[in-house]
Symmetry: D2
Subunit: 336 residues, 4 copies
């Protein structure tokens, strides 16, 4: 970490600060110049509170020079993490395709959808039982009944299931869920992250729509610091000034995540764009950018979907997308 001292800072105060830092087991080096003195701090700075340092009256600005995350950091764990979901793998060359409806509506809908996405090549089934909705008047999911139907679809097809947890109070309903999804709006629900660090289930952590890559990795660090190493990251678009798409799909996240961390990343073009006709080109772009998987919304009848119909593709369209995805995965030497 670097502390740039104000040019008005008295030497005595600088010396005092240096002593305090060294008392915490850190090494410091000062560069004194015409305009300012720079204190370079080396060692484990992850426990230093950057905001507390910024409050020091002689500090003009304080900057981190190393990442604040450790367990998720590629530097300290060079090999890719492969998340194994009862035999189906994601990461380290294994490609995962998570498909299914935004929300579970009926046994016929979810089981039918599961069979068709499996036939097209999906290896995970998604479906929402608890739905975050901006309006209190919108359909908010079948809740417990929805989870039962999802488990029926799992039994019928053998596909591992991925579904969102919206509150710790529902956790006991998730025992037979294979992958617990943390939605974008809960990416910084720290109580939930800390709690899920104590279970051993794979967690699919969606990026918050206004969160930086670094904040996203810090949320993954919460889960790993609790002891759970099975974290899958999911890019789903960020909020920008552009309104042509619901959010802006940050395809750069795939190569960036691979450089910064060993955890796998899947891409969700459905929520990112909110437009079904954009799913195919963006799914293909995701594979070519190096993603470890995809999350795609599929609905047997998008026009009648109780939620997010505009971004769902039909089973036929999904099969067509998968033809290209498989070809590109082959080109990227991904195992399917």
């Amino acid at each position: 970490m670097i502390i740039v001292c104000k040019n008005t800072a008295p030497q005595a105060k600088i010396d005092k600060l240096v002593k305090e830092l060294e008392a915490q087991g850190l090494q410091t080096h000062c560069s004194t110049g015409a305009l300012s003195t720079i204190i370079g701090i080396v060692g484990d700075t992850s426990k230093l509170d950057i905001e507390a340092l910024q409050a020091i009256d002689i500090a003009e600005n304080v900057q981190r020079v190393s990442e604040p995350y450790k367990l998720v950091n590629r530097k300290f764990h060079t090999d890719d993490t492969v998340v194994d979901v009862n035999g189906t793998k994601i990461g380290g060359g294994y490609f995962g395709v998570i498909a299914g409806p935004c929300s579970i509506e009926s046994e016929e809908q979810i089981v039918g959808c599961a069979k068709s996405v499996k036939a097209a090549g999906a290896n995970f089934l998604r479906g929402g039982a608890f739905k975050p909705r901006t309006s209190p008047y919108a359909f908010r999911g079948l809740k417990a009944r929805g989870l039962e139907l999802l488990l029926t679809a799992k039994k019928e097809t053998g596909l591992p299931i991925v579904t969102e947890l919206m509150g710790l109070e529902h956790l006991d309903l998730f025992n037979d869920v294979d992958v617990i999804q943390i939605g974008a709006r809960n990416m910084q629900n720290f109580e939930m992250l800390a709690e899920l660090g104590h279970c051993n289930k794979p967690i699919l952590l969606k990026r918050g729509l206004a969160n930086t890559i670094e904040e996203w990795l810090m949320s993954a660090e919460y889960i790993m610091s609790g002891g759970n190493n099975n974290v899958i990251l999911c890019e789903r678009g960020i909020r920008t000034f552009e309104t042509a798409t619901r959010n802006t799909f940050d395809v750069s996240a795939a190569p960036l995540i691979h450089k910064l961390t060993h955890l796998p990343i899947v891409m969700d073009p459905s929520h990112a764009t909110g437009k079904s006709w954009l799913i195919k080109p963006l799914a293909k772009a995701s594979v070519s950018a190096g993603a470890d998987g995809l999350m795609i919304e599929v609905h047997p009848n998008p026009e009648k979907a109780l939620c997010d119909g505009a971004q769902s593709v039909t089973p036929e369209a999904f099969a067509d997308i998968m033809d290209d995805v498989k070809m590109l995965c082959h080109f990227e030497h991904k195992m399917f």
Copy 2:
């Protein structure tokens, strides 16, 4: 609501859609032109799912023309809501000043801080017992013990207290808390919003850092639709490309909120900027923009604060800020 049909839309499909809409008790009017047909929908459209409509194959785009919120809407409730916290009021001409440390650290700190902010003119005491922190390695608050100390400070000074709830699992600890704060990261924690709609405590709802004014009001609608009308909105800065301040303080929120809703709004320049020297000018700007109150972080010794020291002002600086705030409130005819 407006549905613009594709210029390729066959009349039969348009007629079918119109019938379905009217079957839901809505009136429709079609404008057919050279390039497209526009279906105007009038009536209670709050239950229509805009995303489902966008999925209809003949729909080119769908736009709301009236606000999706009802209970919080100024149009249906023209008088200002005055939130009465055991006699201390906010809104409708009553100005509230909520001050105190970011986090509660010790009895001496919180009680001392409470006495000094009261002396300077604050009428609410704030202090965090449960702290949302980006890093799992940072100080996360004294939790239950912190709430006890806050209650001690309340007893000593008589100031009503405001503190953040981070998860429903802690709710029973909040019985003697006067105002429950929902933090920016939980603004769309819909399970929590729905639950707090069933209590009768005043709720201070912070704006999420990437949420629009409309989404913010929809979250307030969640609380009011549960039966709790005591909602206070709090602007605390939004995330933009600018890095000179931690967030961008959206001062326009004050007059906008007053036009769109009857609920009161307080402004928090401390979290918005992250810089203590910006608090005074932005607190003054807030009053002149018409805010109903302020939330300001005050710490007896910012340099030693366990959290957010950089944005905390000393009790002396707070008293100086209050001198100007009182003068400007007088100019705005606010009751203090």
Copy 3:
């Protein structure tokens, strides 16, 4: 266009407004409901000033329902535009690769670079003679001398050249330039756009870093409305809150542009990210998303580049990128 009238609007004023609109040759249809009256306006609304309409006291809000651009609109020109640069084509299945250094530094540098990018498969040479730099103290290009060197490289290799015009006062120097680039900062330099509409040279129009797709197309409309149909769009990243990359590369722009307009789009991952190691995955993602071409910065010795070294790749790295790009273009049936 839609005008939503305030619920307080007197019928007489609504009738007066409708008359004024119809006097302009537009058809109107009113939908009167409990809360408001909606006036649907059909016809050529491109000359209506939406801001003037918003100023009308009875207007609550005014919304466009059809695109404000006409000549660039896919609806009125369904076939892809193929821009032919002295025989080298971009668009409609023809893929263009524009490569070269950020700025022209010497004859050896630009000629050497031109030969190596041509050998690797580039079909256009780029190089900056006039450089937009944030700091007045930074290197701002060799100007006229740089253009001479670029023309030498063109003679030596036969590659058509692309270079940026920073002010109309330099236009006479561009007679032998094949494609004139308008940089992101000049995307809304309307005087320049209007003037370039009167020349017949192909224009590469970069997207402004805070401009929407619609604003970008309106700038292309400026050029086309002057009579110049040879417009190539170039996505180079937009400004967001994310700081891990210099800008956020909006890969969705490729499929969006293809749906909205007939003009070709090339992608520039170099400026978007500012990081050379991200060029390969994002170049590949661009091809798979359907782009009509790429713009990539190549420098024989990035560490010694006078500008933008961090985002330039070496000729060797460029050749490696091109191997994958050619394979993916083949998969997309693009002519090379």
Copy 4:
């Protein structure tokens, strides 16, 4: 400046880099730790190209610790700059109010408007002769004829005039203009900035809608480095995800600018919000935040304005706004 070297960087390469930096007359200090070596660079780093440094293979990241601007920097010029426009001053305690229509439409309109804003207390007249418009089909100003009418209004009222220059090719028409405005879209039109550095006219430099405070100050540095010290900064809102206002009015810019530079800043709530009913609260907020002036659009008949009617206030509304602005200026000890 700080260079953080990769933990894999060989000492020999670090030594070589240090030598090169010292050869440029800079002092360096190295901090070598477990994970990385940090090179602190002290001296005049304004000529160092941060991007070239980032391209060095051993550099992990490079960060500035001092501002890249010098002439505009408050550190090297502690007194406020007072811009004197033929006797009317802005900055250093002098408050300027620039008012008038968005565009000049007729002699009657501009002269009438000039008289009414002067009567209400404005000390500058604004009016657009050359108008930047997103659409090539919109009204783009009366151009040369507009400037003549503006000069007539100046003669009639004695108010100094402020108007926008859209291209250097029009510069000779601006001889009798008192303050040349550079619009948001031209904030980084570096050719124009450099040229205006050679004239001695006051320049009103608007902030670009996606530009940081630092980039804005670098554009002011362009003008000052040419020899022109008469620069007035103008905040007019930045582009964010929020759509309730046209742009987000960054009121923090006033105190930030005062800390970073000695140049005066005026605030333009009209363009920031696009809504006339927001002008009054935001004008008041600007004064209380410490602004040196205001820029407000006034039109005798907003509904008939040829441009930006929605954000223009009537002369009566302007007089009402000025009553409060004068009171608040008095409270801030601003000379009027």
